[in-house]
Subunit: 238 residues, 6 copies
């Protein structure tokens, strides 16, 4: 029974669904706790379908996105929290970084997942990465005794971006999500405004499953998600 805590931070409220919902489900299925933080709702840049409705307002778009993300998080056993900082462009000021660091000190995650450092197709993803990386370091201090409250350093990984090779993303670990894939499908089903991505990321999970089979020779794996470890982890044996 895992007692590990997993924190996923996305620039927009739906990011975690496409990129990490399977890993979240695997984590919570094993008994772990998971928290999803969205720095914005993606209300301007990623909610075009909603804006096609006549009389649509920003507040209403956010409300819908909040509900969808909360349901999607619940489907994979996680809580959802929104910082509502605005998107396109997302800006994360000092105060928000401090808030994120406080949240990290309270939640004390064992693992933190977020966007890669680089994404030439999205102005908000690298901003989110930088904020999470900075908050994470302010959380843990220099690894020596500090003059402020700290939480232990967490494992730190990037989840898969949309065009991985152009974001410097190199898979270093695949999570086998075969056993929980139905939960990811359910989570994706809640993102009504972006249903065109559901097929895309279903296929992607199968392709990563194919890769994970090739890496292991384990024919049981059907779906997987890819992650890029940004820091070494420590193990008791290989």
């Amino acid at each position: 029974m895992s007692t590990r805590r997993l924190l996923v931070v996305g620039a927009h409220s739906a990011d975690f669904v496409w990129r990490a919902a399977g890993a979240v489900a695997a984590h919570t299925s094993a008994g772990g706790e998971a928290l999803v933080v969205a720095l914005s709702y993606g209300e301007r840049g990623e909610s075009g379908e909603l804006w096609k409705q006549q009389g649509q307002t920003e507040e209403n778009v956010k409300r819908i996105r909040h509900t969808e993300a909360t349901k999607a998080a619940a489907a994979v056993g996680a809580r959802f929290e929104a910082f509502d900082l605005g998107d396109y462009p997302l800006e994360v000021g000092k105060e928000s970084i401090r808030r994120l660091a406080e949240l990290m000190r309270d939640f004390a995650p064992n693992v933190v997942l977020t966007h890669p450092e680089k994404d030439p197709f999205n102005p908000d993803h690298p901003v989110a990465h930088a904020a999470v990386a900075r908050a994470r370091l302010l959380t843990s201090g220099a690894g020596v005794a500090s003059g402020f409250r700290t939480a232990p350093p967490s494992e730190f990984l990037a989840f898969e971006p949309h065009q991985p090779e152009l974001c410097g993303f190199v898979p270093t670990v695949y999570v086998d999500i075969t056993a929980v894939f139905d939960k990811k499908v359910e989570a994706m089903g809640h993102m009504a405004a972006q249903q065109y991505l559901k097929e895309y990321y279903t296929q992607r999970a199968e392709q990563r499953g194919n890769h994970a089979r090739k890496v292991t020779g384990n024919a049981e794996i059907r779906q997987a998600e890819a992650f890029h470890r940004l820091l070494p982890n420590v193990v008791s044996a290989l």
Copy 2:
């Protein structure tokens, strides 16, 4: 109780001691099986102390190196096997690659450790890497049904070279060897011809222990070894 099999391949008979003896000991202590293969004895390039003895012969140097390596391997619970291909320069012809692939098909390792691809300070280490990488691929085939006998793909990691930054070596996983460090010390003690390295690699293990503490916040770690995963691994949860 682990049932995993670990294969370590070095260019010279002592390489595994300085770079991976701790990981071997951690592996066998957990119940796993370990096999060390040395492509050469390092009889020309790394046995200078022995050559200072009057009347020394190559055959005698090899005999001494074989005995030392066998004892060192035993100290960490591993078997030792030598290919005796000669060093400075080491050359690994097709037949030797085929022999190594056959050995891999028989042993079916879960994990393979060897030198990094690049080492601007040693002519034999990159040759060993290339041979192991090639034999490993010939062992497992393309990950689809093949017209020849195969073994499942193994995890593949490089152990730490002497000047890591100049070999493109980036630690991606630290193995905590605190509990088995006495065994590594014993193994190092068997390499009589290279005792000047014992202090060096004792200090190195402590520095990597320091790094592993910083990465985890776990103050219990005293010694560690660093490895560079060359391929993604697959896990059931992060």
Copy 3:
């Protein structure tokens, strides 16, 4: 009406189908000429389905693979030629490099496609890359007057490997294959021994189509193939 000549060189007879059949079809549809060279038939490493048939022989596997590849090439308007050098491992000796260079001098391709330099999942792909790169340079000489027959330097690109991020593959150009995708589907249909790849690469073409749409904003693109230019090209305007 294009008068350009395209040369595709694969390690195994089916490689061009999954990775470049769309680009070949686009090229020949525009009037260009295309030649596919397979350095081996992939008779050992990639023909497992065929080996399941009782009494199968290597000669028969090669004959089947030759027929399939010839049909697949024809489906996209290309000729097929096999060097039959053997696979797993593929080895390309000096004489074969000379033969390939002679073929390049005769065919004088404007564009050459082959595997990327690196592929940690396949022992033959990097061997094929190195042979093609070397033959290509021996074909064109140093770009100055030479003491031997030459052909002008060709554009040189890598086609997409199976796990692109782990092969250092970065897409630098997408070819829109929407208009000729039915031909690629037909070509894939001819590779009877590897039908499990047909769905995989159909999905991949759609995903690359998605990427090409995002790069251009052109909603008409449905399928694409990704390539990595290994050398600059020259244009008359951007």
Copy 4:
């Protein structure tokens, strides 16, 4: 007859002349439209000759630089527009990024050229790159329906910096400017305050012409400019 639109954005008013005037001339000669934006006049860092005149004022330096850049742009068929944000250091605030994004939405460029991301010899060039990259992404949105006005994504390339290897600049496309080189010479002639660069960049154009000849075998090319594509482009055939 091209109907494409080309946008060149430089940190200082003269940058486009040395680095891209040939490509601009090739573009407009083919019927395309070109717009040059200078974020500053380079009045402090790159106008030393002007400051040698007694009684010189910043306003006068800017006026001279504006006139020169307008003439140089006209020589290659382009319009010139200045943001006048100051140099050494150039700072591009949110409002200026918004203004640049608005300009991009209005002009809807097919191609955007600017400085590379890195330049260890100039504090303003990377700032300009970051501003252009950000404005470009805010212009086009996420490639899906958005809650704001967008323009289609543009091709995005870096022009050549002064010490290319130290800026991570790798040529991926050469533009043959032989036919329009007289126009680049004329444009360079208008930058009276930096005439020492005219010979330097004339030689550079010839060297890049030499490179383009070697890449193609086309002996007709005399002068060229080098560019680094930052994102894949999409073509209908190779």
Copy 5:
């Protein structure tokens, strides 16, 4: 007798001691002048030992850190100056960059040492790097006549971070500090609050000494420090 001036800029007051005190001592022993600037005292992140004292105040921590750093600098023949900008997080605003550039114009260093650009274990080190790089460029201008006071460009190197491979640090020059190592030991002795680092960096100096011996074959070298040149230097002969 050297007349060169060396400037070392650290994020925290103790950084220069562990990473560059030997190079400073070698420099001043040869007759050169050295100035150490600390952007902060590291009063929050790196003074945990001091905070264990009851009733400790930030002002007192800073006072102690100032005294320690001044003594350590003196031990290696350097002056110490503190900007006192605060740590965890360190922020270097425009005004501080201007102040640093003014200091550089006044001191006109031949060599500048600071942190590498990247450090995934410390939020302040990259901030310090960026500030120094920017101030350095504003100091020297574009290498042409400028409209403001300048100092000649300095050599620019990064000193060794704690986990070098993970910071992109690659040694490009080793400074032999054997003759002045006692001074580095004395300097380290003054950092009372971080005595646990003294053994670590003594061992590190010996390991770098080992590396410098291997690079040169010079058995006299016992201790060394590693640096990464960020820009080419100019020599009159190799």
Copy 6:
């Protein structure tokens, strides 16, 4: 008065002239000794002008190339030695590597210059690099006592290739050749068969001179050559 020994190894007899003749002249002018080794005469790939003469033979081309290179070497104070291994393709077998290592043990160079590891425009340059790198390691052994004769490790640098960015060449040191540039001009004058390169490399020396001025602020520098250190060097002070 320098007593250092410089070894330059080129794939073809003229390589050292364009790429390193200035550094050789600077070295010998300071009193050092220099030896140039050409692995081949470049008789096939780089002697096209000579082949235009009716009745030309390979032996005659080699004789002319030998004379030219000997004169060019003499012009910069160096001896010239040819291995005559053939070009396009150059192949360096074990015996030739052993011969080169023996030459290195005899000459005991302080500095070795050769081609970079990669050159996508020339099949022979990377072969030469690999041979030199290997011979150099076999010369010096592992930096510990060895069972064979050794010479101390040399500094190891790549000289500038024709299209540097595409060869992974990054200048890390510029040699100021202003004082000896007339000697390089004379050396270039001796390469009658490649006079079209004389202007190219004269301009290149001036551009590198410009870069060296920008790096130092030293207006006296007129010409320079760029080199890429492949291994750290050791200094007594920065």
